[in-house]
Symmetry: C2
Subunit: 249 residues, 2 copies
């Protein structure tokens, strides 16, 4: 069966407290699309953050000396830099205007995932959800009680990577499926036992959303249909390599 | 328009010198699928390597002292370790049985991309293509002259990443499109100029193949339909961050 990814269009501007499940289901109804068993919803983190009120007006931020120093050295906005430091639990690299941090969730990304684009003309910052796995679970449950169907939910953000140019989407929150497909101990068509191998399918599904939910289009989510995901109660947190096993932190 | 990814099935075992374009088109014909303008072919690197004869019988490998030392310390196959060192131009990390190298192409990955699985019961190793961009270009051209349609080609391999568990597919070869979608200078729906942002769509397209071409299924390629890719003559090499700009090498 082919895999299909259908962008969900016509979701209006999101405000704190909005009921995302209803907004998504309303948009799907207008597209004459109903969720079926086997479908997965992948949603950009920004509308989750907005619905959860994780928005900070920049005029309300008093930057720390550290943030002011870093910002003035690199011609950045000190208030945004302040939020990036404040949302981090550790700085991984800080060089040439690039700030790579470990967020409180353990995610390693630029500026702790603090994002200025797409919010009221740049005067506010969007922070990552406090607990993206919990956000995914709550949307997963709301969709289930509204539709009766068990729909896995993946929350995606676009991160840079070492060694490679360009951003790719990754799964920062997940509910209703497992994030890794485990081939360990299985055999290939030649009967050879596969060495490693866990595939980060939740990140690959997030990438599908990267392709169909363009940054400039008002399509913050998509339905992925036709992928046989591994059932179970997983979390995106399990995609984060523990620091003691990480050769690059 | 939705994005669709259709696995190409029924491609037989590949041998050195095989004409991949014919084999792919034959398999598509049996699936009653014809390539259309706008389609992209994503193909796992292994069949490219096999068709190009990049296979080494392990019995023919005389491991170096360095490879023997590393292998015996970590209970690995010294012959496979030898090939990993031989295919590298630099070791990036070598610790706890994990060997991360920079290949001659500049790709940073485990064991220089040398792969033992899926080849004649494990007695051979598959090396990466010598020049995956050139391999992609030659397949792209062969498909064009056979069909008259301009079909971008992406060659994918699955790589590990720092910070995150599990492998994801990445684009190691490419022809017929650009690998990055450039949002720099464009404005979001609020009129805010986007800060960065280049999206590594070729890697995201490779991830789609990761989802539809399972490691255990005999489906080494897929057709991605419905994605408006940026036209141009790009190379996957342009996805490799130059070492002097890389904070993690």
């Amino acid at each position: 069966m082919p895999l299909t990814a259908i962008p969900i269009r016509g979701i209006s501007e999101i405000f704190s407290g909005d009921d995302l499940a209803s907004l998504i289901l309303g948009a799907l109804r207008r597209q004459r699309l109903s969720l079926r068993r086997g479908d997965i919803i992948v949603i950009k983190h920004k509308i989750i953050s907005k619905a959860e009120g994780r928005i900070v007006k920049l005029t309300a931020v008093r930057p720390s000396p550290r943030a002011r120093r870093w910002a003035s050295q690199n011609r950045l906005d000190a208030r945004a830099a302040h939020l990036a430091f404040a949302e981090s639990r550790r700085v991984v690299r800080q060089r040439r205007g690039i700030l790579i941090t470990e967020t409180r969730h353990g995610l390693v990304c630029a500026n702790s995932g603090v994002d200025l684009s797409n919010v009221d003309g740049g005067h506010s910052a969007v922070l990552l959800p406090v607990d993206p796995d919990r956000s995914a679970l709550s949307l997963h449950r709301a969709l289930r009680s509204a539709t009766g169907v068990r729909i896995p939910v993946i929350i995606a953000d676009s991160f840079g990577r070492p060694w490679r140019e360009g951003l790719c989407e990754v799964a920062i929150g997940l509910a209703g499926m497992k994030p890794l497909l485990d081939y360990r101990g299985r055999r290939d068509p030649h009967g050879y036992r596969l060495r490693v191998t866990q595939e980060a399918i939740a990140d690959e599904l997030a990438c599908v959303a990267g392709l169909v939910c363009g940054k400039l289009a008002r399509s913050p989510a998509c339905v992925v249909r036709g992928f046989r995901y591994p059932a179970g109660n997983g979390r995106a947190r399990d995609l984060i390599r523990p620091r003691r096993l990480d050769l690059f932190r």
